[in-house]
Assembly symmetry: C2
Homo-oligomer: 391 residues x 2
């Protein structure tokens, strides 16, 4: 339960992908032999599918390998060593910084840490990051070069940015001309209750505000097809795409086009992806409902914890009393339940309140999940009691 990992029954839904390419099926609709080298940024038909998911143009899409995390890492590596387009490489500009809304995604923080990028935290509100703080920081400090955003079903809070938040982000006037928004749209189509959240398109909003090259949108099929054998993509201005293709021309012989073709054959188009996600939602929904029900039954009357009840994404964000998260997780570990480490949702693994725990309910079976969450609730109560006794 430590990571947002699909359960085997979700992956079973894509079993047809193993065999959806016949032996003589390797030519794309635009005539590319997908077995051979070439097509640096991926098949056009696959770009069209992503364009449908992200509400962008296929010409604004670059396809990657099996993981959008690697695309984010590579984009930051590129900006660090070679600069954002024609600017000075970040690595030669001193102690650069990123805005990190907290709680947030530990792998974003690891990338920053690896590239010696200082992390400046801002709080999350139900409508997204605290934009007063973001504006104040980004518009005054030229060393702030980037900002992490998970705009839909954020990791771990599960909140979706309000239209106002998206527009304020697009209208930032960064002190750094080489400031970039890392828009990790991992969960944009992963609602399991209600309708698909619709937020303004960050590319279009940034065009309107005169910042067309500022946003970099990332997503993948990791939680749609196979987590380890997916197709990833980024979407950004056509001019940014041109710049990225120059690096790709040195770095790559093109992504795995046969795997793209498998996705094209299996899903058909964006509509096919949405239909598949309904089946996935039916598997995920009861898991979230089970966790929330157990929390309600065991904890709601005690005032020692609160938690989110998201309608999509992969996480429930759980807050213990201050000073109780690490203890709760360690008690669970003794009972054989591995949770995301305490502090993981904060840069440098440091949750100043020692309060936030990320619950990832998707991987275990319903039975395992029930058992684990009941033990978790006991651990929360013990940790809170110990804290109250100490106080």
């Amino acid at each position: 339960m430590s990571r947002g990992k699909p359960g085997p029954e979700q992956l079973d839904l894509a079993a047809g992908m193993h065999t959806c390419l016949a032996e003589n099926d390797y030519i794309s609709s635009d005539g590319v032999d997908c077995r051979n080298y070439g097509v640096l940024d991926g098949l056009y038909e696959m770009k069209e599918i992503f364009a449908g998911l992200l509400d962008v143009s296929p010409d604004e899409v670059i396809l990657g390998g099996n993981s959008s995390l690697s695309m984010m890492f590579d984009n930051i590596a590129s900006n660090a060593s070679h600069g954002v387009r024609d600017s000075i490489p970040w690595q030669r500009q001193g102690d650069i910084k990123f805005i990190c809304p907290v709680p947030g995604y530990d792998r974003h923080f690891s990338i920053c840490d690896y590239f010696h990028i200082k992390m400046v935290t801002v709080g999350m509100t139900p409508g997204g990051p605290d934009m007063d703080a973001v504006e104040r920081l980004v518009e005054s400090d030229p060393l702030i070069k980037g900002m992490w955003c998970v705009p839909i079903f954020s990791n771990p809070d599960g909140c979706t940015y309000s239209d106002d938040t998206v527009r304020r982000i697009a209208n930032l006037k960064p002190a750094a001309h080489d400031f970039r928004i890392y828009w990790d749209n991992a969960y944009s189509v992963h609602h399991f209750r209600g309708d698909r959240p619709e937020i303004p398109c960050i590319l279009r909003e940034c065009e309107k505000s005169g910042n067309p090259h500022m946003p970099l949108v990332f997503t993948s099929f990791s939680k749609i097809s196979f987590s380890g054998a997916a197709v990833s993509a980024m979407a950004t201005s056509k001019s940014n795409c041109d710049f990225i293709r120059k690096r790709l021309a040195v770095q790559s012989v093109g992504p795995d086009k046969l795997n793209q073709l498998r996705h094209i054959r299996f899903f058909g188009n964006a509509e096919g992806v949405f239909k598949h996600l309904v089946k996935i939602a039916d598997i995920i929904r009861p898991k979230f409902e089970t966790v929330i029900q157990i929390f309600n039954e065991n904890l709601s009357h005690l005032e020692i914890a609160n938690w989110t009840d998201p309608s999509g994404g992969y996480f429930i964000s759980f807050n213990t009393l201050p000073g109780c998260a690490a203890k709760t997780i360690s008690l669970c570990k003794e009972a054989g339940i591995t949770l995301t480490p305490a502090g993981a949702t904060y840069p440098y693994g440091n949750d100043p309140n020692d309060s936030n725990i990320r619950i990832a309910p998707t991987y275990p079976s319903l039975g395992e999940l029930k058992q684990a969450m009941e033990i978790f609730c006991v651990a929360v109560r013990i940790a809170a009691l110990e804290k109250q006794i100490q106080a």
Copy 2:
């Protein structure tokens, strides 16, 4: 004919890979669900296959995505920004340099160029790079941080390093403690005539000489299974592997394990790969023979050119009279034949003699190849004639 690209009939030999995974076949022999996240450096069974091809231990192998070029790029990116293990990042050490044996592989040169690494050329002999020059340079200049090697069926000369060359490379005493050998073993099993060339294992030789962490071996299935959907690997000391895994832990969710499993199922083991390569050799051999026969018939009596006649690899290295390569290629282009650009086999695209042309016979059909090579021979003769008239 501009690139070392397999022909469609070679790729057809691996048609069974499309369907070799049944719907319920996704668990590796060590129990990994290959559909899900995880296993940062790839499946052990796949490492075993590479170990058999490279004569190393599976524990010395790290698996990558679909291309070894990307692994080389990433390794250099890592050394540039973060340093070789605990050394100062290359990017902070001034104008660093790589040894580039010439003629060589244009994509190696492009990576150097991209990372602002100066390229120092040394000549090739039939037994590999001019080792007197290599030793003089590497052992005196601490800014020389790397050396490109294509030890078996080198690109484009098709020569194989002698045992003496391999041992002299392993016994280099570099002035830079963070010097690395980039051992691009792309063609180690790609003989189409005679036996597989056997050269000493660079990892073992470097252990013997006290330089265990110096070599980085790269290879892939790009010219065995599907060029665009292969599996790549690097082999290096276990301690280097540990270092590389630390970067991977930030950069990656693990490579595409289903594609690895496809390779495992289709080829079985290294022996299966060797058997498959016999079939590939039967397709490639007549193409090389055709080119050599046409050269013999049209050019051997004229003393205006020489060429290699390799027994493996993907290229014939052709030398016109000095000053005639660009003209020859441009005449071919007028006749509709695209060759590797003049100068491509030299850093910065600058062949000081304007003489070397890389011929890549594998992609066209035999009929197309015959026609193209006959026109090529005419172009060689015209260019030589013009040159002689001018002189």
